[in-house]
Amino acid sequence: MKARVTVTLKSGILDPQGKAIEGALKSLGVDGIASVRQGKVFDIELSGSDKATAEATLKAAADKLLANTVIENYRVEVLS
């Protein structure tokens, strides 16, 4: 089973990397960009086949390691 965990910064948390990317896009002339926030994507292969178990596993992975929940939110998706 394939899954994806997406980790993003909570709103209100300063994101200097996102700001730098935003500035670079503007200087490249890519128009219409209001703001950029950088996050992380983890593509994960799971060994089991039960969706509920998979979601619980991914949630544990995110809580224990993938996200720092002081500053980050995460979203868990089982893809197939």
Partner: protein, 233 residues
């Protein structure tokens, strides 16, 4: 003082730290590997040194914070044991949940390697008793992620409980914007936990302990710890 220095893959300041501890206490610290599950008997100070544990992968300190040895450090701290984390060590202690908040990318996105001035906010703690309250010390920093941030509630508690021990300041001891090198909230350079037994700080006091280093302002921190622990023992 019986100290233990944790060693993680990618750490590079453990020998500087060991040297400073030996200089201050007259004893060699135990070097404790990250995969160990216990601390040496009789340890009374655990030091998490600086460097780039696990290549700063995922988040600075995130993987080291979950290493087997950290469970032992957590229970050591819970029973009142003294813990000092410097630079990457500060990041590791935050990630391990031993200190609140997080070290974010420096505001100006640059790695900063220079001497800074710190104001010692109080002298009545084991980590600052080698100094006078309000004293200004000069120590180096070397980090890309040292911008301390926490939610307003946490910052209010840290300030209210006098848990900010070191703050970035000018040479004259003024805490102002230009001297806040990484954009840290409230110019925070070092904080302690609620129990006052765990200190995390970004600057490197261990690199200013001998005349050959050009400055010995870092000695006070180690001398204070030795005095505290030897009186306790």
């Amino acid at each position: 003082m019986k100290s233990a220095v944790l060693v993680f893959p990618g750490i590079n300041r453990e020998r500087d730290m060991a040297r400073a501890l030996r200089l201050a206490s007259g004893h060699d610290p135990a070097m404790v590997w990250h995969a160990d599950t216990s601390l040496p008997d009789g340890t009374d100070l655990v030091v998490v040194p600086g460097g780039f544990s696990y290549g700063d992968y995922l988040r600075c300190g995130a993987i080291a914070a979950r290493a087997p040895v950290m469970d032992a450090v957590r229970s050591f701290a819970a029973s009142g044991g003294m813990v000092l984390g410097v630079c990457n060590g500060f990041q590791i202690l935050c990630e391990a949940g031993l200190l609140p908040g997080v070290l974010m990318r420096n505001e100006q996105l640059k790695f900063i390697c220079q001497d800074v001035h710190l104001r010692v906010e109080r002298s009545d703690t084991p980590f600052t008793r080698g100094y006078n309250a309000g004293q200004v010390i000069r120590v180096p920093v070397a980090h890309g992620e040292g911008n301390y941030e926490a939610d307003d509630e946490t910052l209010k508690r840290l300030e209210g409980e006098g848990r900010v021990l070191y703050r970035y300041c000018s040479a004259a001891g003024v805490v102002d914007e230009p001297s806040n090198i990484n954009g840290a909230a409230h110019s925070i350079a070092g904080i302690v936990n609620e129990g006052g037994n765990v200190l995390g700080m970004m600057p490197h006091p261990e690199n200013h302990v001998e005349h050959v280093m050009g400055c010995t302002d870092g000695r006070g921190l180690f001398a204070g710890l030795v005095a505290h622990l030897e009186r306790a023992a």
